[in-house]
């Protein structure tokens, strides 16, 4: 098992119950959709994986290590195993495509030789060849999200977490991004994607977990038809 949630609850200081007794297991190599209306707890759940949020109760394990009991100094190492893709891309506007992706390796202290090799590799992987010197403002939404995905991939993560990665994109571009995520998953990376785009989920034939008001209301295994 790669990820395990045991009776996880999250209550915010203002009293809002974001997650209510969630137990969940995710295998290596899985592709998992987290679905549910806004405020169902999807974002809270994925943020716990990279320890931006801590649960109020319960335990979370990644590769058999407790995320909850982890010391502050161990968090960077946890996060280097996780690639994160954001709805709003979170690219640095003053950096080019190449620099935005290289940034992820620079900040973990990679050598410039390794950076050059790997960045060129992931740029090809996400189909951005020729856009290396473009700034985010010069790219389309879909291209910007490809930069975001490339950045998440550079450090060879165990898991790729995507929180509404198509939320700001039109339907055609969304399908292209999904295709890219499926390819990444086929190459062996576990992918967890939070979304409320039913159209994308329906046609995918992957495992789907439905959240409502902080609870899991359905866990459809892959291949099962999801309506």
């Amino acid at each position: 098992m790669l990820v395990q949630f045991y009776n996880v609850s999250k209550i915010y200081p203002n009293g809002v119950k974001a997650l209510d007794d969630i137990s969940l297991k995710i295998d290596r190599g899985e592709f998992l959709f987290l679905m549910g209306p806004s405020g169902a707890g999807k974002s809270t759940l994925v943020r716990m994986l990279f320890r931006e949020e801590l649960p109020t109760r319960g335990q979370i394990f990644l590769a058999s290590r407790s995320i909850v009991r982890m010391k502050r100094g161990e968090v960077p190492r946890l996060r280097r195993n996780i690639g994160i893709v954001f709805q709003d891309f979170k690219l640095l506007e003053n950096k080019t495509t190449y620099e935005n992706i290289a940034f992820a390796m620079e900040v973990v202290g990679a050598s410039s030789k390794d950076i050059k090799e790997r960045v060129t590799e992931v740029i090809n992987m996400v189909g951005l060849k020729g856009k290396e010197k473009s700034f985010p403002g010069e790219l389309s939404g879909g291209e910007q999200q490809r930069v975001g995905i490339a950045r998440a991939l550079t450090n060879y993560p165990l898991i790729l977490i995507a929180d509404e990665p198509t939320g700001n994109l039109d339907i055609n571009t969304s399908h292209e991004i999904m295709e890219l995520l499926f390819n990444i998953n086929r190459a062996g990376t576990t992918v967890i994607m939070a979304t409320h785009a039913r159209e994308l989920v329906k046609s995918a034939g992957k495992r789907v977990i439905m959240l409502e008001q902080g609870r899991i209301v359905a866990d459809n295994p892959p291949g099962e038809i999801f309506l």
Partner: protein, 294 residues
């Protein structure tokens, strides 16, 4: 730390300095003004301290001798005086010398005091200085007990008040400087927070990608040291120029002695410059930590 990282930190620090030019200038100005005010207060304190020392060192005991003492009795008294603990120097002032001094201080050559008085009314005396001026009252009490001395004078009452004043001047100026340092730290931290706030997205990303706190801190610290040192340098240049011209012009105007020892002054200036750099780092530290809590 790998050498590659050090190059990365330096490059990032100076890239950020030139990219956020306006905020860099704002920070340098803030540091310069803070250090200027601080330096002004330090110079004031040093001069006040020197003045206090000067006033205190002027405190001495005058012991008047009885009229008909023999030469050997007079030198015996000197030995007794020297034997008192805490006495720094004992200086004999003969009646004639005392009259000369009086003549000098009253009117100089215009009046002939000796002629007016006819006979010299003044006694022989000893002037006694203490190692620590604060011990003067206790020493004076012991001097009074010696045979052959009929009166002891050290500015009773005034001296005690002087010491009270100098004590308070020293405390107040120290408190003032400490308060100024706190104000400077707060001011600089606030300015640096603006610079860091402009880069909060970058810091947040670095944290989520798995960069360590120190990896994020180093470029900011280098920036802080640089901005602080440049601000400090500007401040001490202004301060040194101002104080230098003050020394040149004030000599003729006031009787108060200004501290001009180049050793002391260069120490002050170097300390202020280091202070600027330290304030830069401290301000960065205070402002940065909250953004690292992701």
């Amino acid at each position: 730390m790998r050498p590659g990282s050090i190059i990365y930190f330096l490059r990032e620090a100076f890239k950020s300095l030139s990219r956020n030019r306006l905020l860099s200038i704002a920070t340098i100005s803030t540091v310069a003004i803070s250090i200027l005010i601080l330096g002004f207060a330090v110079l004031l304190t040093i001069n006040a301290g020197a003045l206090m020392n000067y006033l205190e060192s002027d405190v001495e005991i005058v012991a008047f001798l009885e009229k008909d003492l023999t030469k050997s009795q007079i030198s015996d008294i000197k030995q007794d005086l020297t034997a008192i603990t805490g006495v720094k120097s004992v200086n004999f002032v003969s009646r004639e010398k005392a009259l000369d001094k009086l003549q000098e201080s009253y009117g100089g050559k215009e009046y002939n005091l000796k002629e007016t008085l006819g006979k010299n009314p003044l006694p022989n005396s000893y002037e006694i200085k203490a190692n620590n001026p604060h011990n003067v009252p206790q020493i004076a009490a012991q001097v009074k007990k010696i045979d052959g001395i009929y009166k002891v004078n050290y500015g009773q009452g005034v001296v005690e008040r002087l010491f009270k004043v100098t004590h308070w001047v020293r405390i107040v100026s120290m408190v003032f400087i400490v308060l100024l340092v706190f104000a400077a730290v707060f001011l600089i931290a606030t300015t640096i927070r603006l610079a860091i706030f402009a880069r909060r997205k970058e810091i947040y990303l670095m944290k989520l990608i798995g960069s360590t706190d120190w990896f994020i801190r180093w470029p900011f610290f280098i920036e802080g040291v640089f901005l602080g040192a440049v601000g400090g340098l500007i401040a001490i240049l202004i301060l040194a120029a101002g104080y230098g011209s003050l020394i040149n012009h004030m000599d003729a105007l006031f009787f108060l002695p200004l501290v001009t020892d180049p050793g002391i002054l260069s120490n002050v200036y170097i300390s202020l410059m280091i202070c600027g750099a330290v304030l830069g780092v401290l301000g960065t530290w205070i402002s940065l930590n909250r953004f690292l809590d992701v």
